[in-house]
Point group: C2
Chain length 243, copies 2
DNA sequence: CGATCGCTTGAGCTATCTCAACCGGCGTGG
DNA sequence: CCACGCCGGTTGAGATAGCTCAAGCGATCG
């Protein structure tokens, strides 16, 4: 049941968990439709604006920024439940691109309704701010990882986080979860070269900590993974608001 | 004069610029007081909550995350006009610490009033979300810099950005602006060692691009600085909403 | 069957790190 | 008023994590 903050109707529950009934109901009111896209589709383009905002219902994707040099920085991975396009909604333009890695099913909102949401549903507006603050938090985490940790630590951390999110989403069965990205995507997220990322992955595999192949991730030794990732084994899952 | 988005009352003007009259007036309504702190004061502590939120009026500070290993990642620099504590206000706890580098004057808000703001001032609530989205944008930028750029590029980029913000705040006089941080702070922000950061700074100085000493930054060759920082020389300043 | 894609592995190179020493300025205490 | 310690900055030297280049492999697809 929801926890209430004294003055703020913050309802908390596990982050990235599948949506509840009431959540779905609410969304139905704002959604303008559903969309299914093929792998490789660009959902949002850096620098452009989008008349639509999305919530991922199924499938996975990537958020990234492109450089003039042709490099790219992956700034996050999109999993079911994630909101896409808040920046487009509230700022002039997206600051990063979003691309579908797998086939995705999306809940579509109309950007124009965002303002009415702020006017008529302050709790939901609050939630949006919450989402944005959470994004900010995760970006801060990523920055810290990329700025301070060694290659093996970065890779282990990423694996551990994927596993956490997979767990929260009920995607893990028998220690296995789908992870349909390329090593290049992970490398671009961690600020490492593809070659080095590969070597670190092989190392985790050789040490019996985790395997990732054919789009499936299997965590074999959670304790040593946490250790390598510099994460406490008893960390509690993040929470996110209903939206 | 304010630009209006069709459905959203977004008012735009240079980011980081000093506050306008109306802005100050509005803030007066919500502020519960002012605070002046000495250098070294911790304004927000990672993991804790704060009953107060701030807007920096004068002085500068640092946002950072600490590691178990004793390392830290500086995730941003606080300059006048910056909002401090949105995460504390909207999430359970701050995700990073904030420390005053110089003496600072702060505008103090009561966290409890945040919710009434969402209820009664949807435009301001919108602005808060805007601020959060902008933070997110800058963090994404930082992540890209730390993840993809070389040492000299990172340092040049940081200098260029300080200079941009200084310009917007009217702090630059005769190409000089105050920059009261230590090289260690910059190093921790860029994910470089102190020694290497120093060497890159010396290089920029030796090449007549920029000097930074005794707390003052002087940009001598803006064009070459932009080039080194991989920034377009004609970039336009960010905008931020009134709050 | 050839081409492409993602993954894997080896070898050599270098940007960056660590260690260590030194310097000047400043505040403090004798 | 001097001596000392501390802090921030500077510089050199050697070590290494991670990069680039390059080649090869299996799977998939047309």
């Amino acid at each position: 049941m929801p926890v209430q903050c004294r003055n703020c109707p913050i309802r908390k529950r596990p982050l990235f968990a599948p949506m509840s009934e009431s959540e779905v109901d609410f969304m139905e009111g704002f959604k303008t439709g559903e969309l299914e896209v093929d792998p490789g589709t660009t959902l949002m383009l850096e620098g452009s604006n989008s008349p639509q905002l999305y919530t991922a219902l199924e499938g996975m994707g990537i958020r990234y920024k492109s450089f003039a040099s042709g490099e790219r920085q992956v700034i996050g991975f999109v999993l079911p439940g994630d909101f896409i396009g808040l920046q487009a909604g509230v700022m002039d333009a997206m600051q990063h691109s979003v691309e579908a890695t797998t086939k995705m099913r999306l809940c579509v909102f109309d950007r124009k309704r965002l303002w009415s949401l702020f006017q008529d549903h302050p709790e939901r507006a609050y939630d949006l701010t919450w989402i944005s603050a959470v994004e900010e938090h995760f970006l801060g985490e990523s920055l810290s990882v990329v700025g301070q940790m060694s290659g093996i630590e970065r890779v282990a951390r990423a694996i551990a986080q994927f596993h956490d999110r997979g767990n929260a989403l009920g995607m893990v069965e028998g220690k296995r979860m789908p992870l349909p990205f390329r090593q290049q995507d992970l490398a671009d997220a961690l600020g490492l070269s593809l070659v080095h990322t590969n070597k670190m992955l092989r190392r985790l595999c050789a040490e019996g900590i985790a395997e990732w192949k054919n789009g499936w991730l299997k965590v074999l030794d959670s304790a040593r993974l946490c250790e390598t990732a510099q994460l406490p084994a008893d960390r509690e899952p993040m929470t996110r608001p209903l939206i």
